[in-house]
């Protein structure tokens, strides 16, 4: 392969000319789009155009020179594109803040058939403003991080192209003013996820992981589609604003069979796929096959939260279908606990984080399910900060360990990777919910509302707290095994701190993990500290309040807060003891509960169940269908008919025996008969 590889390095003149031409064309396209916005509408349209087209431009620029190995150039362009988007996001968010409402624009009509009129229309309201800030902000940081991370890769240009494409699609998802444009982004991010997970496609397992992600997502997407149809046939529109308005007009429906409930359930299927909830979460841990920054961006901070975002986006609709919300809450809570429990036993640093993500997403859905959409968005944001931080941190570790991901072969990295360790520590504190770190505020709001909301239940709260304890335990375990204690690093590996392009994002994210939660200080505390709940104000008007939410006693809230924090604290202390002080204990416990341990360690055999009981039988059945229905039944039937015809033919062909005089006789007889008929 050496020669072919060499061959590929050199760009042929055709490629070069093509790349340059397309670069010019694309630049013209970008400028044209911006110009269009400036000329036709206003600065808003132009901002939207730049926001969307900058990553697309980055994608095309890098994509057309995908053979390039120049990580610096590719990365810079990509990062700049993301940063341009970020600036636009800020501008738009400010506009939204100033307007106290949505800012919209429409580029063109996409599909106009019958009653269906879908425009390529985009809107920023308070929900999406937050979302684009997170996505472009974190996205920019991760792009920056990637420059260093991918510097030794074979195809950095392709990588950045995919990353920019992802950003573009994510923005479509967020900004689309109707379900279909959201669906475009929805599938688009899935596609990018597929491409990025399978980025190192030469490894069969990584390619398989990408495929698995895509197909699992597809199942969810199918549900999403059905949801779109249902909504369209209820409301005659796919526009978010109109749907929400009409849902509000109709009011809540009871029972399970109502069209809105059905629509919500269909949409929730979509959300479980995209946001890795039970039963479609299986792809996310496998998705760790992709480059680590990708895991940070897509599989922690942004894409996987799309389901939550979608539900929040449609919160009036979901509120009109309380039964659907119950399903969301239960699925969320159960996922939170299940995933956390699996996280306890994983040895792969990224897998731990992956299950952690699933678990945290469960919290967000729990929040949605109890009607606390603001809390869900809040946790979404803080989670984006600290989980991105931790993934990038793990990326830094993996980079330092030359690609090693098994935490059993780490330990004591604190010294070698001080910045990484420091920032990771902040993330750890955030995720286990230590006040005043970001995670504390958001998670606590969820737990409180799950208890307190009329849509909630104490059982949900209990699950949430249990999950929090598990979270604290496995995160501490991760910290302990990776950074603390004695070194188990194999010989020949010399961990070293990453370059600034990687550490700077870490630091920024670390800071955000600390302060990110302060915009949503709960009333119970904030009242005392005179700190307002910024976020709640921000969402006023965009997110409906929980219907029938009674004022609660501050004492109860603080008490519950104390319970959860202390349980988490205890849990992490226990983990510290287990994995730093008395390292023999985990083995003993595992031996004691062998069966349970195996169950958890093997992720409850869900993958095995899916493959063994659904996919393999389906493939086998397809083989049989082919062999028996197609080949044996239909073709045999055809042959039988053919044989019949041939039989008739073989009888009839005795007439045509090649004896021309007999033919002539037939002719004569025929002519005679004709004459007879004429004369008759």
């Amino acid at each position: 392969m050496g020669s072919t590889g060499h061959h590929n390095h050199e760009s042929s003149p055709v490629d070069l000319i093509g790349a340059n031409l397309s670069f010019l064309g694309l630049a013209a396209l970008l400028l044209g789009g911006i110009g269009y916005g400036l000329r036709n509408a206003d600065a808003t349209a132009a901002t939207f155009a730049i926001l969307l087209l900058a990553p697309l431009f980055g994608f095309l620029f890098n994509g057309l020179r995908f053979r390039s190995k120049n990580a610096r150039l590719s990365g810079s362009v990509a990062t700049l594109a993301a940063f341009a988007s970020f600036l636009c996001s800020i501008s738009l968010a400010m506009k939204v803040g100033a307007a106290h409402g949505a800012v919209s624009t429409k580029f063109f009509d996409w599909m106009t058939i019958g009653d269906l009129n879908v425009a390529a229309g985009f809107t920023v309201d308070k929900i999406s403003a937050l979302m684009i800030l997170v996505v472009t902000g974190v996205g920019t940081l991760i792009h920056l991080f990637s420059i260093g991370y991918m510097s030794h890769d074979d195809r950095p240009s392709k990588y950045f192209a995919y990353l920019n494409l992802f950003l573009f699609n994510m923005l479509l998802l967020i900004l689309g003013d109707n379900l279909l444009v959201m669906f475009v982004g929805w599938e688009g991010v899935g596609l990018c996820s597929y491409l990025l997970i399978g980025f190192w496609f030469s490894d069969s397992e990584k390619a398989a992981a990408g495929m698995k992600a895509f197909i699992t997502n597809r199942i969810g997407d199918a549900g999403f589609l059905l949801g779109i149809f249902t909504l369209f046939f209820i409301f005659g529109t796919v526009n978010f604003a109109e749907i929400n308005q009409r849902a509000l007009d109709i009011g809540a429906e009871s029972g399970w069979g109502g069209p809105m409930t059905l629509a919500c359930l269909f949409l929730f299927i979509g959300a479980t796929g995209k946001s890795a909830q039970i039963p479609l979460y299986v792809w996310l841990p496998d998705a760790m096959a992709g480059p680590t920054p990708v895991s940070a961006l897509i599989h922690a901070a942004t894409m996987v939260t799309a389901g939550v975002y979608m539900i929040v986006r449609l919160n009036p609709l979901f509120l009109a279908a309380p039964n659907a919300l119950h399903v969301v809450a239960v699925v969320g809570a159960v996922t939170a606990v299940t995933a956390a429990s699996i996280g306890l036993t994983q040895w792969d640093i990224k897998k731990v984080l992956a299950y952690s993500t699933v678990s945290q997403l469960g919290y967000m859905f729990l929040a949605c399910g109890v009607g606390a959409f603001g809390a869900a968005m809040f946790h979404l944001m803080t989670h984006a900060f600290f989980k991105a931080l931790m993934f990038l941190g793990s990326g830094s570790v993996i980079h330092a360990m030359n690609g090693e991901q098994d935490i059993r072969k780490m330990g004591g990295l604190k010294k070698a990777l001080p910045i990484t360790h420091g920032t990771f520590l902040l993330g750890w504190l955030a995720i286990i919910g230590m006040p005043p770190f970001a995670g504390f505020f958001s998670k606590d709001e969820i737990l409180w509302l799950s208890f307190h909301s009329p849509l909630g239940h104490w059982g949900l709260w209990l699950l949430g707290v249990f999950g929090a304890a598990l979270t604290a335990f496995y995160m501490t375990r991760l910290m302990a095994l990776t950074f603390w204690g004695g070194s188990r690093v194999p010989n020949g590996v010399h961990p070293h701190e990453s370059p600034p392009s990687m550490t700077v994002p870490l630091i920024v994210l670390g800071a955000l993990s600390v302060v990110g939660g302060w915009i949503g200080v709960p009333h119970a505390i904030g009242h005392a500290l005179h700190v307002p709940h910024f976020l709640e104000h921000w969402f006023q008007g965009a997110i409906l309040g929980i219907p029938g939410l009674k004022p609660a006693s501050t004492a109860l809230e603080i008490a519950l807060m104390g319970v959860s924090v202390s349980i988490a604290g205890l849990s992490s202390v226990a983990a510290f003891v287990f994995y730093v002080r008395r390292t023999e204990l985990p083995g003993k416990v595992a031996a004691k509960f062998r069966g349970f341990y195996d169950l958890v360690h093997n992720k409850y055999f869900v993958d095995e169940f899916y493959f063994g009981k659904i996919i393999d039988p389906l493939v086998e059945a397809s083989r049989n269908l082919w062999a028996y229905v197609d080949v044996s039944f239909i073709d045999r039937g055809t042959y039988a008919v053919a044989d019949m015809v041939r039989g008739v033919g073989s009888v009839a062909k005795t007439v045509q025996n090649g004896n021309m005089q007999q033919y002539a006789l037939y002719v004569v007889l025929g002519v005679a008969a004709t004459i007879f008929l004429i004369l008759r």
Partner: protein, 523 residues
């Protein structure tokens, strides 16, 4: 004259090509390509002059052919056939150029066949006289027969015979039905006519629940012909064989255009001619279409041969179109029409790419592949794009069509919708699995041991693929550019389905009156 020009120019050029000595392969290819481009240019003129505000037939040409039987040379175009015509003229140059690599022997015969085939296909999309339609419909079999039979693979004779007999059987039924309709016209109006427009005016007796009544029988006679051509589920087995044995250009033209003749027939004949029967039996066709979607996808998943996989994916995709058409609402019908174009573009592109792979490694067995993306990155990218179109990822053309079809289906029944949606999942499954096994993973047996370095796409091959890729995105991004032309026609078809009438564009009516066959017959 425009339609006649579009229809018969390829035939004329075929004659021209036939006059070039067979040894001058380059000249033949160049002339063939140029001529198909000229025809494409003409069809663009048609597009530019097309009046999208009316559902009436446009550019009508009508000359008596057999005046005694009311058979006329009757061409016309409306929003339903317009895009199929353009699809045909668009794909032909692509195929022509694409064939440079795969057709090395008997170049002249191939290009003559291709051009004759183009005439036949265009004729069947443009013919508004049932007999004329039948003639073109059948004529299209002949060049295809040669294409598979001469330039095909090892079992080509088996495949051609199967293909030919299957299709022939169905169309014979259709011929009988056409003759019946001509007589029916004679019985009610007093003169023979084979004009489809006149057929629309007939009221054919229908009895619900019974099989033996004229409309139901005629309905099934037509439906059988088109169902085989499409092909619909239990009648599909000729397709994989034909595709596997056909040379690449043959596959492209077969999947790209010829299958559309079946679905077009449903739209032009079956639905409007037999409204009651079509409504009554719609469940059956939706049912079979759904089975086709799922069954085609499942069987595609386990195919060991790339081309066969794509062929079965065609079965699945065509199932969508059938379901969409028989949903009988504006979404389903629009989606169905759009999906015809999509399938032409995407599956055509897929077959071309498979052909390009085959030209390099001379095998289509999936298990022998792997890691092809590393050896042939450009091809892999194109293949991935086309795959995305085939599995209907948004912003590609496939999404628009499939979305509309699913929506139409969902409107008919939620259950239908749910079943149809599974096709979306399975479609992704088999295509991506195939992509994974062929392009990803470690280098496979064939990729490693070809004995010569695999060459990535040549400029010619990129030129072949470029228009298809552009179209994939264009159709996905701006479906309105295309649907605007068909909208009025489809809405007319759906809304007045119980009493569908097609008129001739009034501005051209004077011409028609002058050459109407009846006045000829009266002499």
């Amino acid at each position: 004259m425009l339609l006649s020009a579009i229809t018969f120019f390829p035939l004329l050029f075929a004659l021209l090509v036939a006059c070039i000595p067979g040894s001058r392969a380059r000249v033949i290819r160049a002339v063939s390509l140029a001529s198909s481009l000229i025809v494409f240019g003409l069809s663009l003129v048609l597009l530019a002059k097309f009046d999208r505000a009316t559902a009436a037939l446009q550019f009508v040409e009508r000359l008596p052919w057999v005046p005694e039987l009311g058979v006329s040379y009757f061409l016309g175009v409306d929003g339903i056939s317009l895009w199929l015509v353009i699809l045909t003229t668009f794909l032909t140059p692509v195929i022509s150029l694409g064939s440079w690599g795969s057709i090395a022997a008997k170049v002249k015969g191939f290009h003559v066949s291709l051009l004759v085939l183009e005439t036949a296909m265009l004729g069947s999309f443009l013919a508004m006289d049932a007999i004329l339609f039948y003639v073109f419909f059948e004529l299209s079999l002949v060049p295809m027969y040669f294409m598979i039979g001469i330039w095909g693979g090892a079992r080509r004779i088996y495949a051609t015979v199967k293909f030919f007999i299957y299709t022939m059987l169905g169309s014979l039924m259709m011929l009988l039905a056409i003759i019946y309709l001509m007589y029916a016209h004679h019985d009610t109006v007093g003169v023979f006519s084979a004009s489809v427009l006149d057929f629309y005016k007939l009221k054919i007796p229908f009895v619900a629940g019974s099989f033996i009544n004229p409309q139901t029988l005629l309905f099934f006679a037509f439906a059988l012909a088109f169902a085989i051509k499409v092909p619909m589920f239990p009648l599909h087995t000729w397709l994989p064989d034909a595709h596997v044995e056909a040379p690449t250009p043959g596959s492209v033209v077969l999947a790209g255009v010829m299958l559309k003749m079946g679905t077009y027939g449903f739209m032009r004949f079956v639905l409007p001619l037999f409204p009651e029967a079509a409504s009554y039996w719609a469940w059956l066709f939706i049912f079979l279409g759904l089975i086709g979607i799922v069954y085609g996808a499942l069987v595609a998943m386990v195919q060991p041969d790339i081309k066969k996989l794509v062929a079965y994916s065609s079965v699945s995709h065509m199932g969508y179109i059938i379901v969409g058409l028989f949903a009988m609402n504006v979404y389903g019908a629009t989606g169905g029409l759009y999906q015809m174009l999509n399938h032409g573009v995407s599956t055509g592109a897929l077959f071309l790419l498979v052909g390009m792979i085959y030209e390099r490694t001379h095998s289509r067995e999936i298990v022998k592949y792997g890691g092809l993306a590393k050896a042939l990155p450009v091809l892999a990218i194109l293949f991935l794009i086309v795959t995305m179109s085939s599995i209907a990822v948004p912003l590609t053309n496939g999404f628009v069509g499939e979305f509309l079809i699913l929506m139409g289906t969902f409107q008919v029944s939620k259950a239908y919708g749910v079943v149809a949606v599974t096709g979306v999942i399975l479609g992704a499954a088999y295509m991506l699995w195939m992509v994974k096994r062929v392009f990803f993973g470690p280098a496979g047996e064939l990729v490693e041991n070809t004995g010569h370095p695999l060459r990535d796409l040549s400029p010619r091959e990129i030129v072949v693929m470029a228009p298809l890729v552009v179209l994939i995105f264009w159709m996905g991004l701006f479906p309105n550019h295309f649907l605007d032309y068909s909208k009025v026609s489809i809405e007319h078809l759906i809304e007045t389905r119980d009493n569908y009438q097609l008129t001739v564009n009034p501005s051209e009516a004077t011409d028609v009156a002058r050459t109407t066959p009846r006045s000829e017959a009266g002499k």
